[in-house]
């Protein structure tokens, strides 16, 4: 059986594990915080989404590099 395609995508898949774990940790902490103290939700929400955005940036850089570097 022949397989075509770019190895970059496998590398991207591996690198996305890190981003996935990071986003999971951010939202786990956010849900924990809101469950313990529901009135803190307004304060925690921007922090959670900032954490999401910063963590996700790594996965996004991986996606872009998997397209850009080599074919």
């Amino acid at each position: 059986m022949e397989v075509h395609g770019s190895l970059n995508l496998i590398g991207y898949g591996l690198s996305a594990i890190g981003g996935g774990i990071g986003v999971g940790l951010v939202f786990a902490a956010y849900i924990n915080g809101v469950a313990r103290q529901p009135e803190a939700q307004r304060v925690l929400q921007p922090i959670a989404f900032l954490g999401l955005a910063l963590t996700e940036a790594l996965a996004i850089l991986g996606l872009v590099f998997s397209f850009v570097i080599g074919a």
């Binding site: 075509h4 307004r42 304060v43 929400q45 921007p46 989404f49 900032l50 955005a53 996700e56 940036a57």
Partner: protein, 280 residues
């Protein structure tokens, strides 16, 4: 060199086999080139400045947003109807939970127009990806994202210089309370992360999520149509699974589109707050 000959023969075989496969109506996965639709008015298309579908959608989005905001605020009734409520709710969401909460009660007012117009522009341009017939998020073209993030980049650096003068670059890159020994290292990291990585990730985050979401929907649509129409008997039922997955991704994509507009505006507010802050 027997190995080389073998390799070359192998490559030639692959090159011969590929076109034959596509001619037989084999599965063609949608790729980046499917997002570059032919231009409508190809002026100077060789420089990449033609008038394409994305530009038409940007103009459409400006008309839609202006119509929506003017129509929603025309009759400022004391008891708002549904339409006025939608306009007021989305405006006050950006004003209060992004502007006021992040920049601070004291000096968030001058930035409301920037934040609200960025939010609506990105939101509508993202949602174009989920509207049938249009089906193309404008922000999945990297030029849109670069332009938006570039405006914000120039804006917050200019704001910091206006507020602190040239001392702003010291405020932005030299954190207080760091031991002298590791200060040079920290300053280099701060310069790279603040002035170089920040605008790149700010634009690529929007672009890459929209692009990948669009590709996932295109892939599930192409995969379902291939499996349902052209695959062998036993594989056909799998088409229903990919179709259901595609619909699920389509709904999930709407959530992502709204979320990315929020994240972009939230980061803009955080950068503005960072340039206004007295210390690092």
């Amino acid at each position: 060199m027997p190995n080389d000959g073998h390799l070359q023969r192998g490559n030639a075989l692959i090159a011969l086999a590929l076109p034959a496969e596509t001619e037989n109506g084999g599965f063609h996965a949608p790729g980046l080139e499917d997002l570059h639709l032919p231009e409508i008015l190809p002026w100077g298309a060789e420089y990449g400045t033609g008038f394409g579908k994305q530009m038409l959608l940007v103009l459409l989005s400006i008309a839609l947003i202006s119509w929506f905001l003017v129509a929603a605020s025309r009759r400022g009734a004391m008891v708002p109807g549904k339409f006025q409520f939608l306009g007021e709710y989305s405006y006050s969401f950006v004003r209060n939970s992004v502007g006021k909460d992040v920049i601070g009660e004291r000096d968030f007012r001058p930035f409301i127009p920037l934040l609200v117009s960025l939010f609506f522009f990105i939101l509508v341009n993202n949602l174009f990806g989920s509207i049938p017939l249009l089906q193309l998020p404008t922000t999945s073209h990297v030029g849109t994202a670069y332009a938006l993030a570039g405006i914000v980049y120039v804006f917050w650096i200019g704001l910091g210089i206006k507020k602190h003068g040239l001392r702003y670059f010291k405020v932005a890159t030299v954190p207080s309370g760091v031991p002298k020994a590791i200060l040079p290292l920290i300053v280099v990291i701060e310069i790279i992360s603040t002035f170089f990585v920040r605008p790149i990730t700010h634009s690529l985050r929007l672009f890459a999520t929209m692009l990948s979401g669009h590709l996932i929907i295109a892939l599930s649509a192409a995969g379902s149509s291939f499996l349902l129409l052209e695959a062998d008997g036993l594989l056909k039922p799998l088409g229903l699974l990919t179709l259901a997955g595609g619909v699920g991704m389509y709904l999930f994509e709407i959530l992502i589109q709204v979320l990315q507009a929020y994240v972009f505006v939230l980061l803009t507010a955080i950068y503005i707050q960072g340039s206004l802050a007295e210390d690092h």
